[in-house]
């Protein structure tokens, strides 16, 4: 017998012994401190069975944390039925998942939807890829919710059929896995070390699938590799009531975050198709999301630049500012008042620590300050507001959203209120005008919007936008938006 056949026989013998131990449930997980399983609880009828199977098939060294994902989820009976599970109740405004992840103290963490039904041997096989290749630190099983090639839609009548299939698959695939460019399914395992480096999941993307994909891309920016297990399959249930809430908003946010052009990529998350940047390593690192309770669904900071063409006393200025502040529903605004104090003595206006009053003397300086304010105060979005104009409660939220999720550098709102049908009655200059009313403008940070000049009533100040800027419009009648589509350098939002 040759050395090679001896070697092959011993490998086979070892594999057989390993397989026997595995089938008998005698193998511990290949990690010393176990795994923390964070389960997202949404479906009262399924969550208990999901936890049952996780308990049954994950071995003794797992720690379970359940996070109620909606207000109506009945957490107390579940907590009573599973006393070993740490339960985090739903709290509006707090991202319970990032809070739960912060509690994870084990070297591996799994994020699992309560729609996921596991079978024997699932977890051990998902841990091996990162032991095989240390650069692999994110692993997912195949499932009906996974993206791309990992998506497998299989039907099983009972848990017995599922277990038989997975057992067969584990034997056939011999622990196989391969690298993928993104993952987005309802079951994901990663190392705690990576979690601390990447941070939490971005609640701004609304949909869990997008948050997972975004997190994976952020991990890849750190040089980490993602693996899809060929061997492990988990069975995901799908509610009959399809939830489309926030789908469009989430998809737009995802595309904007990764600089993907909606018109040039194919996106159908329901079918498991999600575009990813060609090379994430060359992109600037996306901001990290802090773990823990502080990770309240963040909204980007908006700098609201307030101006008045009239010379106001300090008291009048303060009242105008308060009126605007109370009016706007958007949760994260830095207010910057740019005042022309002419020859007055420096006024005193008490503002919050993050807000500011810029006082300048003379109209030229005033206009110059308005043009360059974004260079002084860094934020994702800058919105101009006139102290004498009327805006509805959601104006800042709406126009900031258009800047954030659209591809335009500068967005013009045709209306100050969602109720106004058209701005033409107020002397709207028209979609192709080269001068735009400053009080209806918002733009991305890091740009100079253009030249600001005096205008005619009703718009006291006009902006001649920089020639290289892409301009988008919101509000007003649809035919105006249609004409914008054809205008060079302009986009319809």
């Amino acid at each position: 017998m040759s050395y090679e056949s001896d070697y092959s026989a011993s490998i086979e013998r070892l594999a057989g012994r390993y397989r026997y131990l595995e089938q008998e449930g005698l193998l511990p997980l290949p990690v010393k401190d176990g795994v923390t399983l964070v389960v997202l609880l949404r479906h009262a009828g399924w969550a208990a069975e999901c936890l049952n199977l996780l308990h049954q098939h994950s071995g003794a060294s797992v720690t379970l944390i359940g996070v109620a994902m909606n207000r109506d989820f009945p957490l107390p009976p579940l907590a009573e039925a599973f006393p070993g599970v740490t339960c985090i109740p739903y709290e509006s405004g707090n991202d319970g998942v990032n809070e739960a992840l912060a509690y994870a103290g084990t070297s591996y963490v799994a994020l699992i939807e309560d729609t996921v039904m596991v079978s024997p041997g699932w977890i051990g096989h998902l841990l091996w890829p990162s032991i095989d290749v240390p650069a692999v630190q994110v692993i997912a099983p195949r499932s009906s919710t996974e993206l791309g090639e990992g998506r497998e839609q299989l039907h099983f009548g009972t848990d017995l059929e599922l277990s038989a299939y997975v057992s067969h698959s584990l034997g056939r695939q011999q622990g196989g896995w391969h690298e993928v460019e993104v993952l987005g399914g309802s079951c994901l395992i990663f190392t705690r070390e990576l979690l601390l480096r990447v941070g939490g999941f971005d609640p701004g993307l609304v949909r869990r699938q997008l948050m997972v994909a975004d997190w994976c891309l952020r991990a890849r920016q750190l040089g980490i590799r993602l693996a899809l297990s060929d061997a492990v399959y988990v069975h995901s249930l799908h509610p009959l009531e399809v939830d489309h809430e926030g789908k469009q908003e989430g998809e737009q946010a995802y595309l904007a975050k990764w600089g993907l052009d909606a018109s040039a990529v194919k996106m159908d998350t329901d079918a498991g198709i999600l575009p990813v940047p060609a090379d994430v390593s060359i992109l600037l690192p996306r901001p990290g999301i802090p773990l823990g309770r502080s990770a309240v669904a963040p909204v980007p900071l908006v700098t609201a630049v307030v101006f008045s063409d009239e010379i106001l006393t300090s008291g009048q200025s303060l009242r105008s500012l308060q009126r605007l502040q109370e009016q706007q529903s958007y949760g994260n605004i830095r207010w910057v008042w740019v005042r022309d104090i002419r020859s007055e003595a420096l006024p005193e206006i008490a503002v919050r620590e993050q807000d500011a009053v810029i006082a300048v003397q003379g109209e030229k300086s005033w206009l110059h300050a308005l043009e360059n304010v974004s260079a002084l105060y860094g934020s994702e979005i800058v919105v101009y507001l006139s102290a004498s104009a009327d805006y509805d409660t959601h104006y800042v939220e709406r126009i900031a959203g258009a800047v954030r999720h659209g591809s335009a550098d500068l967005v013009v709102s045709r209306t100050g209120s969602a109720m106004e049908e058209t701005a033409t009655d107020h002397g709207w200059p028209g979609p192709t005008a080269k001068k735009l009313p400053l009080e209806r403008i918002a733009h991305r940070s890091g740009i100079v919007p253009g030249r600001i000049t005096r205008g005619e009533p009703p718009y006291s100040l006009l902006l001649a936008p920089g020639p290289s800027l892409a301009i988008g419009y919101i509000g007003g009648p649809p035919e105006l938006n249609a004409s914008n589509m054809q205008a060079g350098g302009e986009v319809c939002l």
Partner: protein, 442 residues
């Protein structure tokens, strides 16, 4: 909940075993017919001798009935709920009789289930609670634990458990949503098929049908495409089958003038033209409820017609309602309505009709109501009231009363002879069904 299974075939051949596994709130489950001890142990279901059924208290049971020839027993048992599992006519059975008594069983049932999509669509046009017991959705949509076993439910299995639970918990939130969910799944399936088979008129027609049932205005687009494809394929004989359907879609949208104009284009026979004239009259007089109901009826959407008419208080609605009850085999309701009308016939303005039917003053008889040639017996859509009465007597086991009713139509060209023959056939079919079950027990 206790369940009693009244099957067409023996336990070995019973095709709904998986659905029995998924029955909600299972307590005592019985099979009318024989079962071996192994079958009992394996299924957790016990057999019941047919002789026991004569003294059975059905009040605490839900019946699962898969042969229309159990109908007399269903009526005698007076169960808490009846679920009709409709099947296409099996080989060797008289198709006309099978279809008729299946429709009567469905009308009597609290819930109808079927694996046949043709029957599912037909029943959807007759009544509101119908489950399709098949599907093309590859995913698991529900979960059910029974002891050690965990069952993964497909879409229609989840709908089945929800529909059954909804029978005894109708007040719980979302109890009726399953109907819309299943229609939406079917619509989505056919809409996606339209993308894959863009030149297939039937697929477009089915997409339009489900969208219409959902009240989705996209139905019109798919119907237009289907009609266009039919014409392109030289199927020019599609005015009735396709073009008329536009009038139902427009009626649902409330565009009644357009709906009437569309119906008029498809009205060829004398009866159809007379219906069209009546429709225009209602349009001119602003009787939108009557008009809408009639537009639904001529499009075979009897369920929608009944829904509209049951909410109308005008006297003209009654004969139309009667006609729709008869068309959808809700014959007990039809007779009840007729009796109520007869009771009030002493009041002014009531027009008695021969044969026991009445029409209230001012109410025009529906166009499809006619006196049978050479007799004074009213016929609704070709069905005579004494035949309805006789059939119901027969199903309730009142044989002599049934014969008397059938004899009332004796003068109508040998009609009674046909009815007696059908009576004998029904008795024979029921006997065969029970004989088979008895053999099993033997």
């Amino acid at each position: 909940m206790n369940y009693l299974i009244l099957s067409r075939v023996s336990w070995e051949e019973y095709p709904y075993k998986r659905l029995l596994d998924l029955l909600p709130e299972r307590a005592d489950i019985c099979f009318a017919g024989g079962m071996t001890p192994e079958q009992q142990a394996c299924s957790g279901i016990r057999p019941v001798a047919l002789t026991e059924l004569n003294t059975w208290d059905g009040g605490s049971f839900t019946l699962l009935v898969s042969s229309p020839y159990w109908l007399p027993d269903v009526l005698a048992l007076q169960p808490a709920y009846t679920v009709a599992l409709l099947e296409p006519c099996p080989e060797g059975e008289n198709e006309i009789m099978w279809e008729k008594y299946s429709a009567l069983l469905a009308a009597r049932a609290d819930l109808v289930g079927t694996v046949s999509e043709r029957l599912y669509l037909e029943q959807n046009l007759c009544r509101p609670r119908v489950v399709y017991l098949s599907g093309d959705y590859p995913l698991s949509c529900g979960l059910l634990r029974r002891g050690e076993r965990l069952f993964f439910l497909s879409d229609y299995e989840e709908v089945w458990t929800r529909a059954l639970t909804g029978l005894w918990q109708p007040a719980c939130s979302g109890a009726g949503d399953w109907l819309v969910i299943q229609r939406r799944l079917r619509a989505d399936f056919y809409v996606s098929m339209c993308g894959k088979m863009p030149h297939q008129p039937t697929v477009h027609y089915l997409a339009a049908t489900y969208l219409y049932l959902l009240g989705d205005e996209a139905a019109e687009r798919y119907l237009a495409k289907s009609f266009e494809l039919m014409l392109l394929h030289d199927y020019t004989d599609c005015l009735h089958s396709h073009y008329r359907f536009f009038s139902a879609i427009e009626a649902k949208k409330g565009n009644l003038a357009l709906a009437v104009a569309q119906y008029e284009i498809t009205a060829f026979t004398e009866e159809e033209r007379s219906t069209a004239v009546q429709m225009r009259r209602w349009l001119d007089s602003g009787d939108s409820g009557l008009l809408q109901a009639e537009l639904y009826r001529v499009n075979e959407d009897v369920a929608e017609a009944i829904r509209v008419l049951e909410n109308l208080s005008c006297p003209e609605a009654q004969p139309l309602l009667l006609q729709n009850y008869i068309a959808s085999f809700q014959w007990e309701k039809a007779l009840q309505l007729q009796r109520l009308a007869a009771l009030s016939s002493s009041e002014a303005g009531v027009i008695p009709l021969p044969g026991g039917a009445v029409l209230q003053g001012g109410g025009m008889p529906p166009a499809s109501t006619a006196l049978l040639a050479g007799t004074e017996i009213p016929s609704y859509g070709g069905v005579q009231l004494p035949v309805i009465e006789g059939t119901m007597h027969l199903l309730h086991g009142r044989r002599h009363a049934a014969i008397r009713s059938f004899l009332r139509v004796a003068g109508a060209g040998g009609e009674a002879r046909t009815l007696f023959a059908e009576m004998a056939d029904l008795e024979e079919a029921a006997g065969r069904l029970k004989g088979g079950a008895d053999d099993e027990q033997g």
